[in-house]
């Protein structure tokens, strides 16, 4: 059949709008997901020392081979300066300590109990002398940037070759600012990886060495404490008094206004309509359960009957309420204006006890997390499909009944409508027609 099947203008506009809405909300989810994916993928690759404006490289699984390419390379002069400085510091260390114990150039950053230093770009000419753990050390390897700060109080630290973070994007500049920094607690340590072909940092290998900076930890714990305080219902006298005062204030506002009282606001109407939509779905879900149940004895049969009757009564009440709302809308309120004003979003679930900050969701394996996420998407998709199904039914079925039956265009329409409505647009049926012999 080569006939094009067209729809009436009015219904087509609504249908296309609904489908586009659905497509847009999908696209929005995808965008958010893509953003998160970019961040996560980048975290699992080797971390680059100079991160500013790093272009997105080809996405790939974590690699831990090549040295990260520095976005800027320290100039030779800077390197020289740094080397001189380093040597001077080393000498100072030697002079001061006198002894050098073990800890000869620990290759790998010690685990959390230790401390780290970063080494500048100079070749490890002489392994910086190290002393006991209580002191400070400089190791020649390159712990990745942003690692934990030293736990050990570091008072005297000429030997620390530490570059404070963030002032430099590039180690070269940092060389000038390399003061032995004590009290690194609140700083993250930056490392540049210039000439020494350092090991790149990957989360997989060294993730467990990470530690959050102190300032952040403090702020975060204060944050969660404050949220908890905000959430907890305070039942003190002052709270009750305030509630009473507020109610009285609202009443006075109402009485001093020139408008008749207890009118429903547009927001309230909208909220009730949405509530009724949800109720409709709940009722339909329950009806579905009852209709598919298989009563085994007469008691169950009767119970099913009673349940359906009760559901019918509830639906009747909802309809009644909806009709009341329609009257309110007609009488008091006007047509929809251009554009949409922002809608006040309430915490979902609308519980009496809103919890303002998120709670925890514990999972134990990646598979579990994937299952959960997949189910959530599936539920969202089903909601959307049901909504679209209702819209399509409302617009397409009348179309089929109105057209002239049995012509080829009509059959094509039926086939298309059947596919859309009954198979989710995925499958098509075949229509066999008996051709009259003489045509």
């Amino acid at each position: 059949m080569d006939t094009t099947v067209t729809l009436l203008a009015g219904s087509s506009r609504r249908l296309v709008a609904e489908l586009r809405d659905a497509l847009d909300s999908c696209a929005e989810r995808q965008r958010q997901l893509e953003r998160s994916l970019r961040v996560s993928r980048r975290l699992l690759r080797a971390w680059e020392p100079a991160e500013t404006l790093a272009p997105e490289p080809t996405p790939g699984p974590e690699t831990n081979e090549e040295a990260p390419s520095a976005a800027c390379i320290p100039s030779p002069q800077d390197l020289k300066e740094l080397e001189l400085l380093t040597q001077a510091l080393e000498k100072a260390v030697r002079v001061r300590k006198g002894i050098s114990n073990a800890g000869e150039g620990n290759k790998a950053p010690s685990l959390k109990s230790g401390s780290i230093a970063t080494s500048p770009a100079t070749r490890a000419s002489a392994p910086p002398s190290t002393s006991h753990r209580a002191g400070s050390r400089a190791s020649e390897t390159k712990p990745p940037r942003g690692i934990r700060q030293t736990r050990v109080p570091t008072k005297d630290l000429p030997e620390h070759r530490l570059l404070s973070v963030g002032d430099q994007a590039c180690m070269g500049q940092g060389a000038g600012a390399t003061k032995p920094k004590s009290g690194l607690r609140n700083e993250q340590i930056v490392l540049s990886a210039a000439s020494q072909a350092p090991e790149a940092f990957t989360l997989k290998d060294k993730g467990i060495l990470l530690q959050l900076p102190e300032a952040f930890r403090k702020a975060a714990s204060r944050n969660s404490r404050l949220w908890a305080q905000l959430s907890s219902t305070q039942t003190s006298d002052s709270v009750d008094a305030a509630t009473t005062a507020k109610t009285q204030f609202l009443q006075k506002m109402q009485t001093t206004s020139g408008w008749p009282g207890s009118r429903l606001s547009a927001t309230e109407v909208e909220a009730e309509v949405r509530h009724l939509q949800k109720a409709c779905l709940l009722l339909r879900l329950r009806m579905g359960e009852e209709l598919t149940a298989d009563p085994k004895d007469w008691m169950q049969e009767y119970r099913c009957l009673l349940t359906l009757e009760e559901l019918q009564a509830i639906v009747g009440q909802c309809l009644h309420r909806l009709r009341e709302l329609c009257t309110v809308v007609e009488q008091q309120l006007g047509p929809w204006p251009e554009g949409r004003f922002p809608r006040a979003s309430l915490p979902c679930g609308g519980g009496a006890d809103p919890i303002w900050s998120p709670q925890l969701l514990l999972y134990s394996s990646t598979q579990e997390l994937q299952t959960l996420a997949a189910l959530r998407l599936r539920v969202a998709m089903l909601h959307q499909q049901i909504h679209l199904e209702k819209v399509l039914m409302a617009e397409l079925l009348p179309l089929v009944s109105k057209q002239e039956p049995l012509g080829p265009p009509w059959l094509a329409l039926c086939r298309a409508v059947h596919s859309l409505l009954c198979e989710g647009g995925q499958r098509f049926l075949t229509i066999l027609r008996e051709d009259k012999p003489a045509d």
């Binding site: 203008a9 489908l19 999908c26 995808q30 993250q188 993730g207 547009a266 709670q359 959960l372 008996e434």
Partner: protein
């Protein structure tokens, strides 16, 4: 924490301080809050107070705008937006609507409007929640956000003419494709999250969390971003602190607002004048009316069929029948009590499910774990929801099939060969 002072007799010095402190706390917790002095001027309807209060109300009523975005709205646009939003929410006083659009007047009325908003709900807390700094990897466990999308979609600006049904089919196919992509991306993201969580186990100072989130790991990778995050966090902390202060002190504000209201001349009541307020017209309510009617019709059919079957059947006779019937009625009533309540006006449709965003925390398989939802429970709840929704979808499709079969008519019409079964 200091001791609470018992407020018995407030001495004058305290009293004079209490109000500005309360207002200062309020101002600090709200975005773009003006100084206490501005509030005082507003009480006396001084014109210099008006612009700051218009700005404040604009920020409060459109919180989804980013911090800088409000600058792109002209003052007139802000004024109009505020007026519209307040009317929509049912602000009872007419005087607000009559204020000039240039934002030069109306300090006292705006003050009343702000107080009205504060009195109706936990406004500072809500604003803080909406723009919360997210430190963890969060996943909502319900679909309320998605379902709360705006009602009738804006009509597209495309050609107004007829549309080929194949365009609809194409759009449906596109939609299916997008869902598949979404599913795949989501699975990948979960895998990555799982890795990040397990690679950073033991790193978090908070034992109940155990590992770092993406945000936290990212701040370690990117110190500059980390500093910005820290600043945002500290700003939020300040606002949270101010909100707690406000809650402690707000009573004196309400007493003061009574005096402000008293200073206003009463509005002349004009009972015949009912201004138009924008809402979805009844047209937007039509689909829901039809839906409920359709549901009612289906239920009626089902009930009639079952009643007939019941009457014709053999059950339900005999002396012990009436007692059994009463018991059954009660049982059904109880069974549906929760549903009935959810559907009633003001009921919450939450269906006793978990709600809201939750922070993902990876634990060892056998560990007892602390407070929080467990993934298997959520999975169970979602599975049962999925099953019920599928039933509904199949039912709707079945109805369509029957209806189409009826429309196509009996033979000698064409023969329908349905696609191979599912």
């Amino acid at each position: 924490m200091g001791r609470r002072r018992r407020r018995r007799r407030v001495d004058p010095a305290d009293a004079t301080r209490a109000l500005p402190e309360a207002i200062a706390a309020l101002s600090q917790t709200l975005p773009a809050g003006p100084s206490p002095e501005t509030f005082r001027r507003a009480k006396f309807d001084r014109p210099e107070a008006a612009p700051a209060l218009w700005r404040l109300l604009f920020r409060v009523l459109s919180p989804q705008l980013a911090d800088g975005a409000s600058a792109s709205f002209s003052p007139e646009a802000q004024v109009r937006s505020v007026k519209l939003a307040l009317r929509t929410q049912g602000y009872p006083r007419r005087a607000l609507a009559q204020l000039p659009d240039d934002g030069s007047q109306g300090g006292r009325e705006l003050l009343l409007a702000l107080a009205w908003l504060l009195a109706r709900g936990p406004l500072p807390e809500r604003l803080l929640t909406q723009n919360r700094v997210q430190l963890g990897d969060e996943m909502p466990v319900c679909e309320c956000e998605a379902l709360a999308s705006p009602g009738p979609p804006a009509p597209s600006v495309e050609a107004d003419g007829c549309v080929d049904i194949r365009h609809l089919q194409w759009l449906m196919g596109k939609l299916r494709f997008r869902w598949r992509n979404l599913m795949a991306s989501q699975q990948e993201q979960c895998a990555l999250l799982g890795k990040i969580h397990s690679y950073t186990r033991g790193c978090h100072s908070d034992r109940s969390l155990g590992h770092l989130s993406v945000t936290e790991t990212e701040l370690l990778r990117d110190p500059e971003g980390g500093r910005q995050l820290l600043r945002r966090l500290e700003r939020e902390n300040a606002r949270l602190q101010a909100a707690l202060e406000w809650r402690r002190r707000e009573l004196v504000f309400w007493r003061w607002m009574d005096t402000v209201l008293g200073a206003c001349p009463p509005e002349a009541s004009q009972p015949t004048f009912l201004p138009r307020i924008p809402t979805p017209g009844t047209g937007a309510l039509e689909p829901l009316v039809r839906e409920l009617q359709a549901l009612q019709g289906e239920l009626r059919e089902a009930v009639e069929a079952r009643r007939v079957a019941w009457e014709a059947g053999v059950g339900g006779r005999g002396p012990e029948w009436s007692a059994a019937r009463t018991a059954l009625r009660e049982a059904v009533g109880q069974d549906l009590a929760a549903l009935r309540q959810a559907c009633e006006r003001g009921g919450s449709c939450s269906l006793a499910q978990p709600h809201g965003p939750h922070r993902l925390v990876r634990t060892e398989a056998g560990a007892p774990g602390g407070p929080g939802l467990r993934a298997p429970e959520v999975i169970e709840a979602l599975r049962s929801q999925e099953a019920r929704l599928e039933v509904v979808l199949r039912q709707l499709q079945g109805q369509c099939r029957q209806e189409l079969a009826r429309l196509v008519g009996a033979p000698p019409g064409p023969v329908w060969i349905l696609p191979p079964g599912r």
